[in-house]
Symmetry: D2
Subunit: 338 residues, 4 copies
């Protein structure tokens, strides 16, 4: 940690800072120059929370130099983590292709969509039973009935299933039916939910919050890992921006950025990121070329009758085309579908 | 609702759209021009969800013209809502001055701070017992012990107290001790929490999410109102932006913007918005001049020893100065502290 | 400057960094800890550009600790700068009230508007003769004819006039007619224009760019100051954000933020910041309460016929109301209209 | 154009709007519903500027339905435009690989870098002679001397050259030496510069502004096209965002987004977008997979001694690796280097 003092800090202020550091059993290194005094603190940075030091009179800036996440960091685990979702591997050369409708609407519709995506090459089926909707008047999901349908249709097509948990109280129920637990973007910093899911043994799909930095996402991952659940896949799904022609802005560079900082697999969701079916295939291809460990796409056989997010769903025909080229790009990247 | 068709939409596509509208018992108005065909739909816009229509081939844009929130809207309630928090009124000319430390740390520290802020003119005491922290390794709050301290210290200084609820399971506990329930920025779209709190009878302080638009905030308000709790105060606390010299960007225009769209009171939190004590007083004054129904400020008598957010806390002395000028600006605005 | 090395940097890498620092005649301070090595550089930070050092293998971060602007900084000039625009003073307790139409449209219309704003208390008249329009097909301003009208109408109502310069080649012409030169948001980093205007003797109104940080704005100010023109007034006019109900997001905290960093006066333009007449008065009041040295408002007597930005113009009647309360808030702030 | 009236608009207000529309020789279509009145205007939308209508009392929203750009639109030109830069084709299946240092520093350094990038497969050489620097104290480029070096080195390696024009007054000089004129991000809305360059016959590389939407970029393209220069290549180079671990946020979806709206070629610049050499190769590959017509990369043989933007430059060795995989992805996309 580096503590930069204000240009005219007094000796008393400097001494006060030095005392606080020594109180914590750490060793300060003082550098006094013409313009500024700097104090480097060498030792266990964790003992010294950055924040309170900044409140000391005479202190201008406190610059932490260690990353705030540990278990999620590449330093902690040099090798890429591979997460098993049922028989499907995610990470380390194995791509997840997660597809399905936004919401589970009925057994028939889900079954039809699952048949299409399985045939085209998807290996994990998605579908929401509990839906986080902006409006209280919108369709909120089928609940347990939806979970049962999802499990049954997944089993029928031999695909593990992923679905969202919105509330810690839903966890026991969702765990009964799902192979993978999704934490939605709006809940990325719902810390009680993160802790609860950290105690589950099921693999987790953690979506990036709408205004979360890459580091914020890794801190949320740290909550789950530190509770004991190592089966974590991250998901870039776009962030809020001023651009108004797409639903969000897909931060494609988050893929190699996360891979440099962390050992965790990361997939990309171009459906929520763009909200536009015409942009989804290109973004799925780009995601694989960027090094992603998978893609998450919403597919619906009749988007205009979808109960949720219809306009961003891809038709099965277009999903097939997406998969054809995606396989060839995966090959160039030395990866394959699990 | 207005449906704009693509430049070269076919007659079959147009007919398909018209049929869908009539199926729902609504009446389409067709306008065919040189360049474009437009269909206006007059009737109950709620029957017709905008999204699925956008998925119909040939449709370019669907433009809803009614606001998606109702109970929160100014049309629903022309008069300003006044929320009672204990004996304190918020809204309609009465200002809330919510002050206190970020977290409840101990009875002694809270008591000292409460004494200062009460004397300076604050009328609601704040303090967190459950803390949403970015890092799992940071201080997470004192829990029930903190709630007890908060209630006791509030009673001793004759101030109602507000504290955060992070999880629906905490609600019964927090309701026992608090006069007002806070929903933090990170939980603004934790819809299960909103629904649960909507069933409480306690007044609620709903903070704007870090990347929520003003309309998103009013939709979250709608969740609470539609569950039956009308005692709602909104809080502008800054949003994420590219500016890196402040913690967030305080969207001051949200104050008159909300007042035009909604009857609900709105307060401003310059502590979280700026993260900088040197900017807090000016922003508190500006908030009142902008028409806010109150201000929410973190105060700590020893910021360098605060267990959470110390660097953004104001010293009691500076809080007094803030209050002195704030009262005079309130007078110009025709408002006063309750 | 502080140089943080990567966790596993080699001795050779460390030596290479030390050599580069000594080559520049500077003195490195080495701190080697368990986890990290840090090098503090004490001396003239300007000799050492941060960027190239960051490219040295083994270097993780380079943290400059001095501000990159000098002439614009509060350290350079402790006292508030007061800029004279004709007989009007801006800064140091004197408020500028800049008002007028977006564009100069005709002598008659400008004269009518000038009469209104003068009577209500404005002290500087604005109007564009060269207009930066997003579309090449929109009205681009009256050019020299507009400048003449502006000068004449200003003289008739005894108000100095401010107008935009978009191109260095227009400068000699605009200087002939205007009392103050405006640099628009889109040109805040048009460095050739900044240099040219820095050689003028006329006072300058520099608007913040749509995605400029406060520091970027002060760096652009530095361009003008370093060319020799000290008569500079900054203007906060909103930045781009995800909020779609206002044209831009007014960063009100930029006012005290700039005042802490710099001696230059700063005014606020709520017209461009919000794009909404219903929000302009509140934001003008808030600006003065935040400590601004003035307000910049677009006023038009018939907004629906305005050739540019009509919908954001305030009617003269509402401008009067704005001024009435603004004067009272100015009084609380210890300021007055020049 | 669609005009939505406020809920309680009076008949007089409605008539006033209808009159204004008829005055302009256009035909209004009135739809009166239970809650709202809507007026559709069919005819030449250009006659009717959206803005002033919004200022009419009783009007809530004015929704333009035609795109504001014409010559840049896909409707204007169904086929992909192919721009010739010297012998190199950009667009329609031919990829531009633009590489070189940020700034021209000396004949020797440029020659060395040009040799490397040419050998690795680049087909256009870049290098700045006029540099837009945030600080007036930073290296501002070699000016004409830099242009000469660039032309000579380009000729020696048989590569056309691209370099930035910052000021309309520099245009005659730059045109003498360069094969392609670059307009930098900071000048994307320097409309006088756009007009001047629109009158040149040289091909143009127009970079997206830091807070420009895709539509803003196409409007700036329209300025150039409408002045008569059709040889235009767009460039996505990242936009400002809250993410602080990359220099900007690369909006990868802008590639297919632009391709849907416009016939113009678009290349991607991962160097400025990310500012991080470790992310550049992945982003170059993703760009080609997303459908870009080329990539723009800064390469330097000794980044730590670069006079500008060293830390974001790629080493020649890593550029070769980038090119190897890029060729294979281009093949999957049915494209090749010109």
């Amino acid at each position: 940690m580096i503590i930069v003092l204000r240009p005219n800090s007094s000796q008393a202020e400097i001494d006060h800072v030095l005392d606080r550091i020594k109180e914590l059993g750490l060793k300060p290194h003082l550098s006094q120059g013409e313009h500024r005094t700097i104090i480097g603190v060498i030792g266990d940075e964790n003992k010294l929370q950055a924040e309170p030091l900044q409140a000391i009179p005479g202190v201008e800036q406190v610059l932490p130099i260690m990353k705030p996440f540990k278990l999620a960091s590449r330093e902690f685990n040099k090798a890429d983590t591979v997460v098993a979702v049922g028989k499907v591997k995610v990470g380390g050369g194995s791509l997840a292709m997660i597809a399905g409708p936004c919401a589970v609407e009925s057994r028939e519709v889900l079954n039809e969509i699952a048949g299409h995506v399985k045939k085209a090459g998807a290996n994990i089926l998605r579908g929401g039973a509990f839906k986080p909707r902006t409006s209280p008047y919108s369709f909120q999901g089928l609940g347990e009935e939806g979970l049962k349908i999802l499990r049954d249709v997944g089993a029928r097509h031999d695909m593990p299933v992923v679905t969202e948990v919105m509330d810690p109280r839903q966890l026991p129920l969702v765990e009964k039916y799902a192979d993978m637990l999704q934490i939605g973007a709006r809940n990325m910093q719902n810390f009680d939910l993160l802790k609860e899911i950290g105690q589950s043994k099921k693999p987790v799909l953690l979506k990036r919050g709408m205004s979360a930095t890459v580091k914020d996402m890794l801190m949320s991952a740290e909550y789950i890992l530190s509770e004991g659940n190592p089966n974590l896949v991250l998901c870039e799904r776009g962030v809020r921006s001023f651009e108004d022609s797409t639903r969000n802005m897909l931060d494609m560079s988050a893929v190699p950025n996360v891979k440099g900082l962390s050992h965790l697999p990361i997939v990309v969701d171009p459906s929520h990121a763009t909200g536009r079916p015409d942009l989804i295939p290109s973004m799925a291809w780009a995601a694989v070329a960027a090094g992603a460990d998978g893609v998450h796409v919403e597919v619906h056989s009749c988007p205009e009758k979808a109960l949720s997010d219809g306009p961003q769903a891809l038709l099965p025909k277009r999903f097939e085309e997406l998969m054809d080229r995606l396989r060839r790009i995966a090959e160039v990247m030395g990866k394959s579908l699990s």
